[in-house]
Structure formats: structure tokens, C-alpha cells
């Protein structure tokens, strides 16, 4: 596994963590049926933080970030996103979802719409943005992820890496304050991982608050300001990347790191 995500200097000037709280999770528990999948999660994320969540499969990392935009329902505890508490009130859920962007492992682009239409759908129908403005904004973000020339193609005609970059642009078009990444590079060919990570790094350089579930430890080293290690539905260890990788404290973390970095 590569130790670095990109071979260039990363501009950390704008990667500033503010004192304002973006997400606050207090005493959160979740069950799938009788299976206790998330256990007593406490986590505060400040604006501008880039957090990488690592851990073995089945440890609940994806479920954790899917709780933040209510794709999964939690049963106990509080989740407060940008000052709005997640409850069963649909209005709160819609409000939070329009402020939190999400990128999925399998892209989940809408195959019946062109790339441009994928990017303008939510701004037009949720934010009531005029079509022309929504299209201009979509083109702006497509340029940012470096595929403006694909705007009128359908997702099925693009490569995996291109599709994932469209998915990132689609989320950005909603002007989210927080971005969630659920294993964004796990379904990609090795050659395409880099182009997606590049896009994510640029986003970090602009000061976006990001939570990434990923196995890209190079990305964690270079971009994250905090790495969270989860196992069996619990947060086992969290630290700055330098410390996390060089000086892991718990045995479980040491074992995990030796497994994924050991070859």
C-alpha cells in the first residue's frame, strides 16, 4: 500500500480547524434488529476538520457516517448537525440532508440523467435554484473535478473514477457545509483511485469539513487532522495521523495497522 496519496506538496494554509462545532454526537447507540452495531459513540467535529475513520469491515464505520445524514436511524443518544438535532421530524432531516453532502462507494449516480442533469436535479427541485444558475454552478463544479467535457454524457458512458468525481460534483452543487465519504475509492481500479483522491484533497485544501471512511492510509497521513479507529461498533482510538500511525496505543490498533501497512 502506498504511503502517500499524491506526490505533490499539499497546501495546508486553508486547512484550518475552527472552534465552531459542525457535528456533535452524544451517547449514540444503534441496533440492527438485536445486533448492537454502534455502542456509545461520542464525537465532536469542528468546522474545517478532515477526519478519516478506519477500521476492519463490520466495525460500524459506514453506519456511523450514514447516521449523520439519517440514512440510518439511531435509537439512543443525540446527533446535532450544524445546530439542528436529528429527530424523526422530517423537516429536520430534510434540512440536514441538504447541508450534508454524501459520496457513496458505488457512486449511485442517476443513470437515466446526463452528468449535468445529475448535478442540477437537487439544486433545482430542493433548493429551487433557477435552472440557468443551477447549470452554471454545475459546470463550475464539473470543471473543478476536471470533467466539464463530459457534462452531456450519461453516467454509464464514463469510467469509474470519472463517475465518482461526478458524484462529488453532484454533492458540491448543493453547497454543503459538510461532506461525508463512504469508502469513495473502494470500488475503483488502482489507476483511478488517484484522480478521486486528488479531488478530495483539493476539497480539503479549500477548508471543507470532511468525514471519510477509507482504507487509503496515505490520504489519512497527508490530509486528515484526526484519524478515528473503530472496532466492534466502538471508537477504539483517535489521534493526529502522525501519532496514530507512528505510536498507536491500543493492541487492536497495532494489529490493524500491522495488517494493512505490513506489506
Amino acid at each position: 500500500m502506498s504511503q502517500l496519496a499524491v506526490d505533490r506538496e499539499i497546501d495546508r494554509s486553508k486547512m484550518k480547524v475552527s472552534d465552531e462545532v459542525a457535528i456533535e454526537i452524544i451517547g449514540m447507540n444503534k441496533w440492527f434488529g438485536s445486533f448492537h452495531v454502534l455502542r456509545d459513540i461520542n464525537l465532536t467535529v469542528n468546522r474545517g476538520e478532515r477526519i478519516v475513520i478506519a477500521g476492519p469491515s463490520g466495525s460500524g464505520k459506514s453506519t456511523l457516517i450514514r447516521c449523520i445524514n439519517a440514512l440510518e436511524e439511531h435509537q439512543e443518544g443525540k446527533i446535532i448537525v450544524e445546530g439542528t438535532e436529528l429527530s424523526s421530524d422530517l423537516k429536520n432531516i430534510d434540512k440536514i440532508r441538504s447541508e450534508v453532502g454524501m459520496v457513496f462507494q458505488h457512486f449511485n449516480l442517476f443513470p437515466h440523467l446526463t452528468v449535468l442533469e445529475n448535478c442540477t436535479l437537487a439544486p433545482i427541485w430542493v433548493r429551487k435554484t433557477p435552472r440557468k444558475e443551477a447549470e452554471e454552478r454545475a459546470m463550475h463544479f464539473l470543471e473543478k473535478v476536471k470533467i466539464p467535457e463530459q457534462a452531456n454524457k450519461y453516467p454509464g458512458q464514463l469510467s469509474g473514477g470519472q463517475q465518482q468525481r461526478v458524484a462529488i460534483a453532484r454533492s458540491l452543487c448543493m453547497m454543503p457545509k459538510i461532506m461525508l465519504f463512504d469508502e469513495p475509492t473502494s470500488a475503483l481500479d488502482p489507476e483511478m483511485i488517484k484522480e478521486v483522491l486528488d479531488t478530495m484533497i483539493e476539497l480539503a485544501e479549500e477548508g471543507m469539513t470532511m468525514l471519510c471512511v477509507t482504507h487509503e492510509m496515505g490520504f489519512a497521513r497527508q490530509v486528515a487532522n484526526r484519524v478515528i479507529f473503530m472496532d466492534a461498533g466502538q471508537i477504539v482510538e483517535q489521534n493526529e495521523p502522525e501519532e496514530f500511525f507512528n505510536n498507536p496505543q491500543s493492541d487492536r490498533t497495532k494489529l490493524f495497522l500491522s495488517q494493512i501497512l505490513g506489506h
Binding site: D94, N108, H112, Y154, P155
Partner: protein, 432 residues
């Protein structure tokens, strides 16, 4: 350097395929004469087709277009030395009846206009990329115009029916602002139903008294032939698709009442043969109605066939919904689209596209099932053919009559099938 090492110094340019693997000769060799067994099958099939044509073509090309009865046909054939030919006299004499039933001949222009305009109304739906979208307003107005052209009567009837939708919508807008969305929907639907069932009758009578504008009414019992089949088919097809979508969504709903109502409706209607529903429509329904109510027989049949088709449609669409990856729902949710917007913009366009073959099969089935109305005494083409064969002049005629009916049905169903293939090609947006 070992002898296994190899480095390519220049990349190869693509070349044309060899001539033996393209072109018509290649196609024939590949598809007709690939092996000895294939060659024998090809020759046998060709012989069978030619044999069939030698039998059928002279039968088809018999000079009996002017025959006035079966005996008369036989005389013509004997005189022309063309034994065993078809007797087309029955078609030339009765084809207007086969098309229009007993609809008054001087009013034939009305069903003709209705079906020509049906084509205009369908055009923006079927060929949305080639026809201006403004025509959709005509499409929206057409369902009220269509029965008025066929049945006639006062113009206020269809206008009052249309007004029900505006009244319902108006009540919904006002009520949803005052007491909330769900209550608004219920209030709107109730208001529309009350208008249709109770108030609109008085309004139509009053308006017809003030301004008697209308065209000559035609009774349902004069309807018949392909006009009747197409009317039932078009209404059932047109109404069952939206109803089926609602039922399919209802079946997946989180609301228990909605879910079980949908499930039981679908299971009950699918579990009962259409012919039973038609008997209920033709006989039982009148027993339950208050005496003196005049509930039109064709309207009753339309409702039953529509309900029947929508139950099947719901299951076909549910199949399409089940085939969609869960990620599509999640992506729509994560972007903040609410349930109805997600359904309309993301889920349904894809689910319906996946379901096109099943939907069109259901359409074709419904259109062919319209012939069952002959059993409850309506004069659709099959009902008419029985009447014609009971006529002493045409007693004993079979192939010509049923062949003609089959041909017309085939033209319609084959067009539907070809259209669905065109639509699938048009909506294909690359592999997923």
C-alpha cells in the same frame, strides 16, 4: 538478458477485418449454412414456407370481393374456375359494421374524429422528442373530449367532469394551507368526489337549461365493433398505468392501512377471472344499485377492465421497483429530495423503463381481453361475428371473418410491441 524478456517498441494500428468475416455472403454462411445440420434445416424450412404460401396465396387472392352471400361466393368461384378460394364478400359487406357496430351511419365522423384526435393527443406522450410539448395541454383535455365525441349529449357534462379536478385541487390548496398537507389531500379528494357524485348532476342540468349546447347523443347499445374494442382498450390502458403506479407504491408504503389496502386489492382482483368481474358488472351491480339508477353498461365494463389491468400493472411496476439498486433511493435521500420528488424524478423513470416489456405485455393482454365483453352481450368484433354468422346469407363462414379480426388485432398489438422496442432503444443510456 534472458530469452524470455520482451519489449514492444511500437504499438500496432487497428486493421480492417478480413473480407470473409463481413458482408452478406458471410452472413448467409454463418446463419443459414454453418453446418450440414443447419443447411438441412434451412432447406426444410424454406420448403415448408413455400408450401404454405402455395396453399394460402390463391385462397387470399380469390375474386369474391363483390359476393353477397356464401352461395353467391361459391358461384363466383365456380365461374372463375378458382375452387377453394376465400369469400371476401362478407368483409366488403359488413366491414363498416365491424368497425362501428350499430353506430348511426350519419355520425360516423364522430368516432373517426375521436380516434384521429386520439393520435394527436398521444403524439406528445409517445414521441416526446419529436412533437412540441405544448400539445400536452390538448392531451390533458382529451380524456373529457373523447367520451363527449363518442356518446354525444350536452357539452356541460365533460366540462363538469373536468371542473371536478379543479375544484378538488382548489380545495386541496386552501385546506393544505390551513390544516396541513395530508388533511388537504383528503379534503381535496372528498370535495371532487362530492362534486362528481352529487352536485355536478344539478349543475349540468341547470347549465344545459340555460345554454343548451351539445351534439346528438348516441346510446351505449349502439356501440360495437373495433370502435368498442379500441375505446375499452384505450381507456383501460390509459387509466391502468397511473393506477398501477399508485398501487405499486402503496404496496411498498410504510403506512399500514395504505399497504394492506393495496395488497388486498391487487390480490383480490388478480385472483378473480376477468370474465367474473364482467358478469358482476353486467348483472350483479344493477342489483346493488338503487332502483332507477342508470349506470351505463360500457362505463361499468370500463371500470372493471381498468381495475383488472391496474392490478396486473401494479405487480409489473413493483418488479421494476425491486430491480432498482438501493443506492438510488439513498442517493436521492442524501440529496434532500422528499419522497414524492424522489419517486417522480429518480425512482419511477428508472423503474418504468425497466418494466417496459412487462407493461407492454399487460397492455397487449388487456387489449385482447376486450373481446371477452362479447360474452356479456356487447357487440365487439367477436360478438358481431357471431351475429353475422347467424345471418342465413353468411351461415358457415369462419376463416375470412376471424382472419380479418385477427389481422386487425395483430396490427394494433404488433404496433405496440414495436413501439416498446423503439422506446427501450431510445431510453438506453449506456450500461449501468
Amino acid at each position: 538478458m534472458s530469452d524470455k524478456a520482451y519489449v514492444r517498441t511500437e504499438m500496432l494500428e487497428p486493421r480492417d477485418p478480413p473480407p470473409s468475416s463481413v458482408g452478406p455472403i458471410h452472413w448467409i454462411r454463418e446463419n443459414l449454412f454453418a453446418t450440414w445440420f443447419d443447411a438441412i434445416l434451412t432447406i426444410l424450412s424454406a420448403a415448408a414456407i413455400i408450401g404454405l404460401l402455395i396453399e394460402v396465396v390463391p385462397w387470399l387472392l380469390s375474386p369474391t370481393w363483390g359476393g353477397t352471400s356464401l352461395d353467391n361466393c361459391r358461384k363466383i368461384l365456380a365461374a372463375a374456375n378458382h375452387d377453394g378460394g376465400a369469400c371476401w364478400g362478407v368483409i366488403s359487406e359488413r366491414w363498416l359494421q365491424m368497425l362501428f357496430g350499430f353506430y348511426p351511419a350519419e355520425l360516423y365522423w364522430r368516432p373517426i374524429a375521436a380516434f384521429v384526435l386520439l393520435g394527436v393527443a398521444l403524439a406528445p406522450v409517445l414521441f416526446s422528442d419529436k412533437v412540441p410539448g405544448k400539445l400536452l395541454y390538448f392531451t390533458a383535455a382529451y380524456p373529457f373530449f373523447f367520451p363527449w365525441l363518442l356518446w354525444g349529449g350536452t357539452i356541460w357534462g365533460p366540462l363538469a367532469a373536468a371542473a371536478g379536478f379543479f375544484i378538488g385541487y382548489g380545495v386541496y390548496v386552501v385546506a393544505s394551507r390551513m390544516v396541513g398537507n395530508l388533511t388537504g389531500v383528503i379534503a381535496g379528494i372528498l370535495a371532487a368526489i362530492i362534486w362528481w357524485l352529487v352536485l355536478s348532476g344539478y349543475a349540468v342540468d341547470a347549465l344545459a337549461g340555460i345554454a343548451p349546447i351539445g351534439i346528438e347523443p348516441v346510446e351505449s347499445r349502439k356501440f360495437g365493433g373495433f370502435m368498442l374494442s379500441i375505446t375499452i382498450g384505450v381507456v383501460a390502458i390509459g387509466a391502468s398505468l397511473p393506477l398501477g403506479i399508485v398501487l405499486a407504491l402503496g404496496r411498498q408504503s410504510d403506512l399500514m392501512i395504505v399497504k394492506y389496502l393495496s395488497v388486498w386489492f391487487i390480490e383480490f382482483i388478480r385472483g378473480v377471472p376477468l370474465i367474473t368481474l364482467l358478469f358482476v358488472a353486467s348483472t350483479l351491480l344493477n342489483i346493488f344499485m338503487p332502483p332507477g339508477t342508470d349506470f351505463d353498461i360500457i362505463l361499468r365494463v370500463l371500470i372493471m377492465v381498468t381495475l383488472f389491468a391496474s392490478a396486473y400493472m401494479a405487480e409489473v411496476i413493483r418488479g421494476g421497483l425491486a430491480a432498482l439498486p438501493k443506492g438510488q433511493y439513498e442517493a436521492a435521500d442524501a440529496l434532500g429530495l422528499d419522497y414524492w420528488k424522489a419517486q417522480r424524478l429518480v425512482i419511477m423513470p428508472q423503474a418504468l423503463k425497466i418494466s417496459i416489456p412487462g407493461i407492454v405485455s399487460t397492455f397487449i393482454g388487456v387489449f385482447k381481453d376486450t373481446t371477452l365483453v362479447s360474452i356479456i352481450g356487447l357487440l365487439d368484433p367477436l360478438g358481431l361475428s357471431n351475429a353475422i354468422r347467424a345471418d342465413s346469407a353468411w351461415n358457415g363462414i369462419v376463416w375470412e371473418l376471424y382472419g380479418f379480426i385477427a389481422l386487425i388485432f395483430f396490427v394494433f398489438t404488433f404496433s405496440m410491441s414495436r413501439y416498446s422496442m423503439y422506446l427501450e432503444r431510445k431510453l438506453h443510456t449506456g450500461h449501468r
